[in-house]
């Protein structure tokens, strides 16, 4: 009986089932364990305590408005950018694409430090500049506000929307739009009625990522909102409950609320997309004729330069300049210029080199695992009719919708040996953390791409007698290749400098770039941190450039 059951299980069942189980064990189990602990009789009263506090409701509201403002900003920036850079004949497209992708690879809190230096109300250089030349009596910008935090987050997270839409446009069959144009609709109508609905799944997945990333962001609201006593859920968790006397479980109660928050968004979006399945790729892959900008060419170029200059260049150059300062608050001048911090970080600090190697290794492994596992889970989600498939992807998103600190604590409790596996203080726990945190990127992206692939492709493969594995490897993977590789980079970049989880998970031998940066910023001085941030940016940009060079521009961001 058992044997005949087992015989009926084919390779695909083993592979898909196995990957789902792996995902559940590493991604969902630690958090469910934490939730379970938080609702145990001795801790359940924490929830009553949380609900009864008005300040918690205010931080919930603040979280919501921060999410909405940030998301709106990222759509306004990201969507037109993707369209302009993919669909038109603007010169140097690839260069622009790389330039606008830079924020994706820099931790937002580095940007927050830069913006703080530029826009703080008393000594921010931009504020002083405007006050001097516009003869203002007070600073025109108040960076310490919800708007300030939303701006800084938006200037980073727009890259999620931008890259998602750019990818979707890349995979869209341009003849659909051309057909609309030939039938007499104008550009705007074609965009609104054809392009927008087709890239909507990708746009939505981008929006979800931004929304959740904002809800779980800690560094930026801590730096820019806490000084004005404005709290969001993450900073509330931090200040209210996280301390050494049993704070972990109290914090997890509040985190469960944050999780619910993220998951509701996810559920709403899945409702929204429920009856919208689009098939736009039928095996053909073409770019189509770019739209000629003609007289709009120069205004568009100037616009791009301006937007990039403010959003990306200004904070970057602020960091680079800081790294050369002898004294932090003084302007850059000959007497205030020094390489001393470079010498310290590069040669005197033994951990610098090791942390770069560590981060490279961990991020590569985690991205590989996430991409492979994510593709298989996405397949389960999109192409099968297994009843629990939505649950699996739902649970896979749990770690992303949970603040990093809580994920890390869950992993420590789950994988320290008392529940079987012991990964603590090994580099595997970091890899597990990175993989589970970002696997939803891979799942969302691959699922969005799979949605666009018509099942007839697969069916024809099967009809010709190919096994499932062969179909997957020879038909789906080649079509998905751009998405898979893009997902790899989408995961590699944020994990390379990941901070919140790493800080609790690194052991004596596994220090990463992110934790080193944080330690320099918190316990050394801002210039050393700026040196490391500059080095990180250089290394990532060079790596990205080399990948693009080797693959002739096909991959990299």
């Amino acid at each position: 009986m058992l044997r005949s059951c087992l015989n009926r299980l084919k390779t695909e069942h083993w592979i898909l089932g196995g990957s789902a189980l792996l995902l559940l064990y590493f991604a969902a189990f630690p958090l469910l364990l934490l939730i379970f602990k938080s609702i145990s009789p001795e801790h359940i009263q924490n929830y009553a305590l949380i609900v009864s506090k008005k300040s918690n409701w205010i931080s919930l509201l603040n979280t919501l408005s921060l999410c909405i403002t940030t998301t709106a900003l990222t759509i306004i920036i990201g969507l037109p950018l993707a369209w302009l850079l993919y669909k038109t004949d603007i010169p140097q497209k690839n260069l622009w694409k790389s330039l606008f992708s830079i924020p994706y690879i820099i931790p937002p809190y580095v940007g927050a430090i830069a913006w703080l230096k530029l826009l703080n109300p008393t000594s921010g250089s931009l504020n002083l500049f405007f006050m001097k030349y516009l003869h203002l009596n007070s600073a025109p910008f108040q960076i310490y506000s919800l708007g300030g935090a939303a701006m800084v987050l938006g200037f980073f997270f727009y890259s999620f929307i931008f890259l998602a839409c750019y990818n979707a446009l890349q995979k869209m069959d341009p003849s659909l739009e051309e057909a609309a144009l030939m039938c007499g609709s104008n550009r705007w109508q074609a965009f609104k009625d054809i392009t927008l609905p087709l890239i909507l799944p990708a746009l939505m997945s981008g929006i979800i990522l931004v929304f959740i990333a904002t809800a779980t962001a800690f560094g930026v609201p801590a730096l820019l909102m806490m000084p004005q006593r404005l709290f969001v859920l993450t900073t509330r968790i931090y200040t209210d409950v996280l301390n050494y006397s049993g704070g972990i479980l109290k914090a997890s109660s509040l985190s469960v609320i944050l999780m619910i928050f993220g998951l509701t968004g996810l559920w709403a979006s899945s409702l929204f997309l429920k009856n919208k399945r689009f098939t736009t790729l039928s095996g053909k892959y073409a770019r189509g004729e770019p739209l000629s900008l003609q007289k709009w060419k120069w205004p568009c170029i100037i616009f791009l330069i301006g937007v990039w200059g403010i959003m990306v260049f200004l904070p970057l150059i602020t960091i680079v300049i800081s790294s050369f300062l002898k004294i932090y608050g003084e302007p850059l001048s000959f007497s205030n210029f020094s390489f001393q911090k470079y010498r310290y970080v590069l040669f005197e600090l033994a951990t610098t080199q090791k942390s770069f190697l560590n981060s490279f290794l961990f991020a590569t492994l985690a991205s590989l695992i996430s991409v492979i596992l994510g593709a298989l889970v996405a397949y389960v989600k999109v192409k099968t009719h297994i009843k629990s498939r939505h649950w699996i992807t739902f649970l896979a998103t749990l770690p992303y919708a949970t603040p990093g600190t809580v994920v890390a604590i869950g992993l420590i409790i789950a994988f320290s040996g008392s529940h079987g596996l012991n990964l603590y203080n090994t580099f595997w726990i970091l890899i597990v953390a990175y993989s589970v945190k970002y696997i939803s990127f891979a799942i969302q992206n691959t699922a969005a791409a799979l949605e666009q692939i018509d099942s007839t492709l697969e069916e024809s493969g099967r009809m010709c007698g190919a096994s499932w594995l062969k179909v997957f490897a020879t038909i789906l993977v080649p079509i998905l290749k751009p998405t898979l590789i893009a997902s790899f980079f989408l995961i590699f970049m944020p994990t390379f400098c990941e901070l919140t989880m790493s800080i609790l998970l690194v052991g004596p031998k596994t220090e990463t770039v992110g934790t080193l940066l944080f330690n320099l910023q918190s316990y050394d001085d801002p210039q050393s941190a700026a040196v490391l941030a500059t080095l990180i940016i250089c290394v990532i940009l060079t790596a990205n450039f080399m990948v693009k060079k080797i693959t002739r521009g096909a991959y990299g961001v």
Partner: protein, 300 residues
Amino acid sequence: MYKDMIEMMKEDVQKNFPDMKIQWFQSGSEKVAAKISAELEANNLQADVLMTSDPFFYIDLKNKGLLLPYESPHTKNIPIYLKDADNYFSTQRVPVVVMAYNRTLLKPDDAPKTFKELTDGKWKGKVVMASPLESGTAFTAVATLSTKYGWDFFKKLRENQTLSTGGNSAVRQKLESKEYPVGIMLLENILQAQSQGSPLEPIYPEDGVILVPSPVAIFKRTRFPEEAKQLIDYLFSETGQRWMIKANMYSPNPMIPPPDNAKTFNFVLKKAFPWNPEFAQTVFKDHQTIKDTFAKIMFE
């Protein structure tokens, strides 16, 4: 513990104990405490020796029976009130919290002289301090000041728009970037900044300097108690203490000179708010209330 100090000390320690292989995990005291708590929750404590600047955490660990008592012969010069009565831990270095100002913004005569003075309207919107929720030393400062002046002191600071944020280096940054002229921060960070050419100047407040006696202790779980004890001996020896001085902290041993450019330990002790095990015990018991009250006053 400071990264650069650990880097310097590491080599020397290895030279002294060629047969030992020591792994160092370095981070801020709150991060170390969070890591240890998570490890305890998972029943998987890793460390053999603990060295952080949060004296109250050690009381917690002692009460939970996690520490191994040891009295190093080198601790005999250390004042009794800086040692645990049962030898579970002992103060190995003494960071002190003082005030600092940016001399490009204030003249020495205009700088505040006491903590109390910061509630004066003159300093409205001009003072920054670290957050006791994020920094162990700031917590000790808040505990000390609230014991001496009561919570009214902080209510007035709040009315005076005093900013409480981040750790000590955040305070340093806010002073150096000229966002705030005056700050409450660790002396060692001011001295370190000065040695790098920063325009920060220390103020030893006349109404008291805040001591943060920072212990070292051995965990009971260690599989190498003898080696751990040797390491403790090293840390209390003159060589070990020199590293602390180099990192601009005071030695609890009166025989050891103060850090460069700092007043003597005796001068500081004369001005210091009193420290004793009873005070530590009380603060430890109330530590949640202290944090909550502070958060309520300053953050809501």
